[in-house]
Amino acid sequence: MLSIIRLILERLGLGVLVLFAVSLIIFLGVELLPGDLCQALQGQSATESTLAACRKELGLEQSAPTRYFHWLANIAQGDFGKSLANGREISELIGVRLANTFFLALVAAVIAVPLSLILGILAALYRNSWFDRSINVLTLASISFPEFFVAYILILVFSVQLGWFPSLSDVSPDTPLLERLHKVFLPALTLTLVVMAHMMRMTRAAIINLMASPYIEMAQFKGLSRSHIIIHHALPNAWAPIVNVVALNLAYLIVGVVIVEVVFVYPGLGQLIVDSVQKRDIPVVQACSIIFAATYVLLNLTADILSIATNPRLLHPK
């Protein structure tokens, strides 16, 4: 048991380290700017005095390490600084949008995860059946679709022609849950379709790999029933790969959100980052990047830790 706790602590420590490194990269990225942030902002119209004022405003006269630690300390307290475009507190801009994004991702995950695990496992167990073959071709086609293609097809069918769901997901903080679910349905379905193909293919591969283990063959030679083999011999060893597949795809979902939000004009973090990139509102982009990256790192870390915690070799050390 001790070795597991040590391993998990090690991973946690490593995760924190990675987060630091990520923040450093995001911070340093801006330092790579030719000139500095103020020159980039003001471009040709810059004069000595406006530049100086700008630098003072953004605290650029301090050394880079000082600014980095300042920035990091503020982020840790939830203060991301101010937007360059409109001077508002970034944390204010992010708050509601972050919740919206997580809501969308959650709805998509709730549909996608169970569905793709079940379909993936079935495809693996009935390998080479017509079911498996059609799943293979369908998923292969669907991972080839750009997210916006899927989104517009859904809009065309469900919104323009059938009129069942709105093509704009303009939710506000006081939208009631049912209406919110109705409005969020099409973007969530888009994400689901995009992420399901990946998740099913990976689940299928993981289960096939598992079912090829010598101990599964041995279980057959012991005359055990197929259901007993799957439940008692395959499943206990399947957690690690399945958890991995889920975490990887949730992480993928977080990224897929950006484009879907733009298509459906959904007020989430993805919208915000795209708008800010167009306005070159660097502090906001930095803040969003940190949040996306942190979510991504945490999901991968969770997968790592769960697969350690379900590994029988580590659970029962020598």
Binding site: A21, V22, L32, S144, I155, L156, V160, S289
Partner: protein, 302 residues
């Protein structure tokens, strides 16, 4: 001793018949192609026709790439087979030129990514030790940031232009190539023939290019197909967001964005460039799927 006093070279074929020399590579490739499943043939057909369009775009249409030929959003007709776009440019012309630009840029980016990622990955595997550790940890950190987000950040900083776009995406994508190249090279580096080459006193260049590289080509080629699709989709996504290939260059991603309003009127024209993207990726994926199936020695299914 008593039963076999004859020379041992005669013993050998007695126990194991040596595999016969194979027919020439070209003949075998042709036969493989012929035997390939329908999906792979379809994939090849798709890819070949895209290449044709990309190469001969100017000869396939009377209009120029960004020539304004009519009013905005004209309907499908004889003059403009697919209508015109939001600025009154011929949609079909833009679609044909888009093949050139979008595929060309994605191809260059993928090649660059493979050059960077492939070489560093093989080197990391051969060198091992702290050099490998350093490179691998660096790549781990780069990969801890979702690549679309990372490219958004970098595009904000460096601005959007085609060279910047190519470099950013190539560098970010090379991390995945690095991982794969390193992983498959590690399997080769532990082989005795690499040890034999080291003990012979061979240099790094020989070991990289002559001993390791030829043996990791199949997974790298398959990965090239997959990475190309990924890069292609990423660039399309960025262009769709207005952050990729900039106007007036014809490009499928931005064509969807520019004409998206038509969809709310039930017009499918803006879906055509999106469909063009999807079709090519499907084609490449079908080929890669078959190739992987072939080279992995039927690991998955019989």
């Amino acid at each position: 001793m008593t039963t076999h006093s004859s020379s041992d070279s005669q013993l050998e074929p007695f126990t194991e018949p040596p595999p016969a020399a194979r027919p020439s590579k070209f003949k075998r490739a042709l036969r493989e192609l012929w035997k390939s499943p329908l999906s792979a043939k379809l994939g090849m057909l798709i890819v070949l026709s895209y290449i044709f369009v990309a190469l001969f775009a100017p000869w396939l249409t009377p209009y120029g790439e960004s020539e304004i030929v009519g009013g905005p959003f004209e309907l499908w007709g004889d003059k403009y087979p697919l209508g015109t776009d939001n600025l009154g440019r011929d949609m079909l012309t833009r679609l044909l030129y888009g093949a050139r630009n979008t595929i060309g840029i994605a191809l260059i980016t993928t090649l660059l990514a493979f050059l960077i990622g492939g070489m560093t990955g093989i080197l990391a595997a051969i060198l091992g030790g702290w050099a490998d550790q350093l490179m691998s940890r660096f790549v781990d950190v780069l990969m801890a940031i979702p690549s679309l987000i990372f490219s958004l950040l970098l595009l904000t900083i460096f601005g959007t232009s085609i060279p910047v776009l190519i470099i950013i995406i190539a560098v970010l994508d090379s991390t995945r190539v690095f991982r794969l190249a390193r992983a498959v090279s590690l399997n080769v580096v532990v082989m005795d023939y690499v040890e034999a080459a080291r003990l012979r006193g061979e240099g790094l260049g020989w070991i990289t290019l002559r001993e390791v590289l030829p043996n990791i080509m199949p997974p790298l080629v398959a990965e090239f197909g997959l990475r190309f699709c990924f890069v292609f989709l990423t660039i399309a996504a960025l262009s769709f967001l207005g952050l990729g290939i900039q106007p007036p260059t014809a490009d499928w991603g931005s064509m969807v964005r520019d004409n998206a309003t038509l969809i709310s009127y039930g017009d499918i024209t803006p879906l055509l460039p999106a469909g063009a993207i999807a079709l090519l990726t499907i084609g490449v994926n079908f080929i890669v799927d078959w190739f992987l199936h072939k080279t992995s020695g039927l690991k998955d299914g019989q």
